[in-house]
């Protein structure tokens, strides 16, 4: 069975290995220079506001192609699990159904259950290894830029490591996504019995889950930390007036590096959501008078966030969940195969 799996999958293995080798060379050539710029910039040891200019200097010194590789790397890590699901998972059984080779395969001295289990296991591990290897290389290469982009002072682009862009493309999480996308592809292939339909279903299903997960689910994996911070009245903006009360909003006043801020709410001195009757100065253009009026109210902000230190907790929890989902799908495939013969 191992031979058959290898023979049917070797073209994909060679293609993936070649692509990974090209990327590895590119990263090995450009990586040390970036690491050197980072080490000599002093970002690693800076604190507070002083990090802003330092990180800007670092950003300006970076060669243009580093920025290109960084963005391409993000794209690769987003696409790899989907590619694995669409091109490795979906055709695994569906193609054999279409090519009508199953009567040949299933009439050797290997049960069809073992046939599927070995293919799921080996190609699944191959998918995880591919995603894991690429993530390892890109996580290492990108780490200087990642740690600069999460510095919240004066930078144009702020990327928290727990945020939707960086979290899914770094560490071990891509391993879990690849396992899941692969199993999803195989399942779709067995249900639709058509390679092209299975590919489309896998791509749509996986992309939708990725989006929904980042948007609505990830923040609930570990309960967020809530903190109350004093507000500088100047940072409060009035969005409008409703029923005689002003709708207030403030930029999150949390300066903790890399924190993933989930929500911020303006509250009054007793801890309730701020109910401030309309102040004429705040509805006009006199911002100084408005700030002075607001200052008397001693408004504060209730912030809920995930600290950057939880990055690896989130990574392992999420990887575990996706690997468990992949195993559940694989079990479904085998159950379906046993129940619905041919």
């Amino acid at each position: 069975m191992t031979w058959l799996t290898w023979r049917q999958f070797r073209a994909q293995v060679i293609a993936a290995a070649a692509a990974a080798a090209v990327l590895a060379i590119l990263l090995a050539v450009t990586g040390p220079h970036m690491a050197h710029l980072y080490d000599s910039s002093g970002i690693a040891t800076c604190t507070g506001v002083s990090c802003g200019p330092i990180s800007n200097t670092f950003g300006n010194e970076l060669p243009w192609f580093d920025t290109v590789i960084y963005l391409v790397g993000l794209g690769i890590m987003f696409l790899v699990p989907a590619i694995v699901g669409v091109f490795w998972g979906a055709p695994l059984v569906a193609h054999e159904i279409e090519a009508r080779t199953l009567p040949l395969t299933w009439n050797q001295s290997v049960t069809k259950t073992r046939w599927l289990a070995v293919k799921l296991g080996l190609v699944g591990l191959g998918s995880m290894a591919t995603a894991g290897l690429l993530s390892l290389m890109l996580t290492w290469w990108s780490s200087p830029m990642d740690s600069t982009l999460e510095i919240p002072y004066g930078h144009r682009l702020l990327l928290e490591r727990l945020g939707p862009v960086l979290f899914a493309t770094r560490g071990v999480a891509p391993l879990g996504y690849a396992a899941f996308a692969f199993a999803l592809g195989v399942t779709a292939g067995m249900l639709t019995r058509r390679t092209v339909s299975a590919m489309a279903a896998t791509l749509g299903g996986f992309a939708a889950l990725q989006f929904a997960w980042a948007e609505w689910i990830r923040a609930h994996l570990v309960p967020p930390v809530t903190v109350i911070v004093p507000l500088n009245p100047v940072s409060i903006s009035v969005l409008g007036v409703k029923d005689g009360f002003m709708t207030l909003q403030a930029a999150p006043a949390l300066t903790q590096q890399g924190a993933w801020i989930l929500s911020g709410q303006v509250i009054d001195i007793s801890g309730h959501p701020a109910q401030v009757p309309a102040i004429p100065a705040c509805l006009g253009t006199n911002s100084a008078a408005c700030a002075a009026s607001l200052a008397r109210l001693h408004l504060r902000e209730l912030i809920s966030y995930e600290p950057a230190s939880r990055f690896w907790t989130f990574q392992w929890v999420e990887t575990g969940i996706f690997v468990a989902l992949a195993l559940a799908l694989a079990a479904t495939c085998i159950w379906w195969l046993v129940r619905r013969i041919a």
């Binding site: 069975m1 049917q8 009508r100 009567p103 009439n107 050797q108 049960t111 069809k112 013969i341 041919a342």
Partner: protein, 251 residues
Amino acid sequence: MTTALQTSGLSKRYGHGLALVDCTLSIPARHIVGLVGPNGAGKTTLLHLAVGMLAPTSGTIEVLGGRPASGPAQLAKVGFVAQDAPVYAGFTVADHLRFGAHMNPGWDAALARDRIDQLGLDRRQRAGKLSGGQRAQLALTLALAKRPELLILDEPIASLDPLARSEFLRSLAEYTASRQVSVVMSSHLVSDLERICDYLIVLVASRVQVAGPVTDLLASHGQGLEDLVLDYMSRATRSSTPPAPQPIPEA
């Protein structure tokens, strides 16, 4: 004496249609069995039940004393060439021999090699580029080299030209003459079967009409095999109300 194939009240239903109804058979081992009947009579269904690609709706089926496809040992005892002799289009002939060797503990590498050489097949040739006759011969080689006790062939020569047909039957007869093996082979043409079969099953409209050794059937009817089968076919379509032949979904 062991039986190659034993069924009792075997039926298979697809949705609302019956593909096989109340089939009771007991075929002794060491026969070359012809399964004959018109297209859509249920021949493929019966053979797929025998190799475990389908599960019966009701009734039982035993192949060489075991449940079809129940494990590696049972699979090793049965060789199967499905309709249109499927092979992996992207594999070379040599890849197919490696495939057989890796997938079957009882693989007879010498037998496979000799047959490929006799057939004059180029080992580096991709199976997708073989002619229909060559593909059927390759599929037969895979089934034979696993050294089965029972060989099941589903319309193996239906799509072949007369020369390839004759070649296929000759090489099959050569193999069976020298070994203790049972064969069940389906066809909608009696002429294909009468050359090598010594046992006949006539399946019409999802029901077994008659089954027995060819000599017995001929003795009791006193006419040619072709006429005998035609007689059973027309009798089956006249009498009772046979269910409409059902399309058989491909595996």
